[in-house]
Amino acid sequence: MTNEAIIQLKDIDVTFHTKGQTVNAVKNVSLTVNRGDIYGVVGYSGAGKSTLVRVINRLQRPTAGTVSVNGQAILNLRPKELRAARTKIGMIFQHFNLMASRTIADNVDYPLKGGSLSRAERKEKVDHLLDLVGLTDKATDYPAQLSGGQKQRVAIARALANDPEILISDEATSALDPKTTSSILELLKRLNQELGLTVVLITHEMEAVKEICNKVAVMDEGAIIERGSLVDIFSQPKEPLTRDFINTATQIDQALVKIYKQADKLDLGDTQQLVQLQYVGDQTDSPLITELYKRYGVVSSILYGNVEILQDTPLGNLIVVMSGEPDKLAAAWDYCQEQGVRITHLKSTNSEVA
């Protein structure tokens, strides 16, 4: 991955005026996406993430700020220049937005109409694109005959027709079931690797981000509240909202609820502590639990464990009950921290989950 910026949004504001009301959908947001990134923008609905990315191809004109794509100042382009620039920014949508009156092949061919290619060249290109997304046998079908996942594949083929360098995915997997979502995400990842396509992925599901993104920005109420590499965000989230998203994605939330329910029965004394251990990368491999026992006589019983592989980096989560003398426990925790393992002390009551 190079560090060349392909999309630069600077100080973007988007304000809507409707019926005397003013809505600040996007507030002073700057975002840089490098060539080859799969950049995830996560937020609940209404956070302004869709509005923000639509600024990239000027489907939405920002109230203030500058937009640079591939070195071109998008906001200064004349209509004709803008249309040319848009051919290099593909976009896919939650509801696919295919033309019901055209066949699959015709939908993919649509962006090529009126272009410089001959009829035969266009046919060849459409065949190639359909092959790329695995829908060659559906060429003469109509969208109504396809499943949701297939429709999104057609939409991807259409978005790629003019060989864009950027693909914007606006909640493209939100209307699909989990299995289909995975296959679409895999396809995006493959396109990223094989064609060097830069992907901007908007979603409200951290699971989608977790699967393919290398960078993440979390949006709330029109602002980016946290951003960074996927591994950094997952291992050291700072904002409560980010933590929420991650806990949902790693299913720690569900585990905690169960553990808290169980906590009363565990009947933890002064010599026992419920803790969450988090470790990144190589530490996953070291026998931490054994070390704690050998060095400090601290016994850890594992209630929940989970390892995520993010961008080839393992990220582990353990929820354990540690038993030992208070001073030994403190020493054990210091040792963990020395080893680069993050410790979160969980109360054995229900108060933390709400």
Binding site: N57, L59, P79, K80, R83, A84, A85, R86, T87, I89, G90, M91, F93, H95, N97, L98, M99, A100, S101, R102, Y110, P111, K113, G114, Y142, P143, A144, A155, R158, A159, A161, N162
Partner: protein, 227 residues
Amino acid sequence: MNFFAKYFPNAVTMKSDFIQATGETLYMTLFTAIVAGILGMAIGIGLIVTQPGGILENRAVYNILDKLVNLCRSIPFVILLAVIAPLTRLVVGTAIGTTAAIVPLVIGSAPFYARQIQNALAEVDHGVIEAAESVGSGPIAIIFRVYLKEGLADIIRSSVLTLISLIDLTAMAGAIGGGGLGNLAINVGYSRFESDVTILAMLIILVIVFAIQLIGDLLARRVDHTA
């Protein structure tokens, strides 16, 4: 022919009148359909693209078109025939006759068709328009390759509706000497108490309407791939 002579005693002697009247009705309908079709289509597209949120949003143009359509649609056709007479004389040289009837027919049906087209095109999914914009399509391409293509089934259905209401209007054109089956039914059949003439004229109009409806439905079903 015996059956005909028995039940249509007057009409059977007026074969050439019926042929001429049917010809006049078809002439007025077709000619008006072409002119009003082009005009209504243009205004309908104009309304869709200039409306708030449209691809060529323009409040002033939209308001003018919108008010114009409402104005023309709110004048009863029989009154329009008289009110428009000076304009008719300007355009075709006379305010009486079949060709003269075409001017008020156009003004009476084009705004109706414009609204129908506007409604048909409003059904085209905004997301599809956006997808077309995102691949670099300009307004002309979006109008011809998206709006008119995606809305085709609904356009055909509205055209059928407009065409049938147009035939309805041609029946009134008899009032200014436009001729046609409506004129035959009223001025001959009704005035002379030859009710068989009225009924036959009505039957011929029914056949024309049914034929248009049938062909329209078939065409619409052919181009509709939404299900």
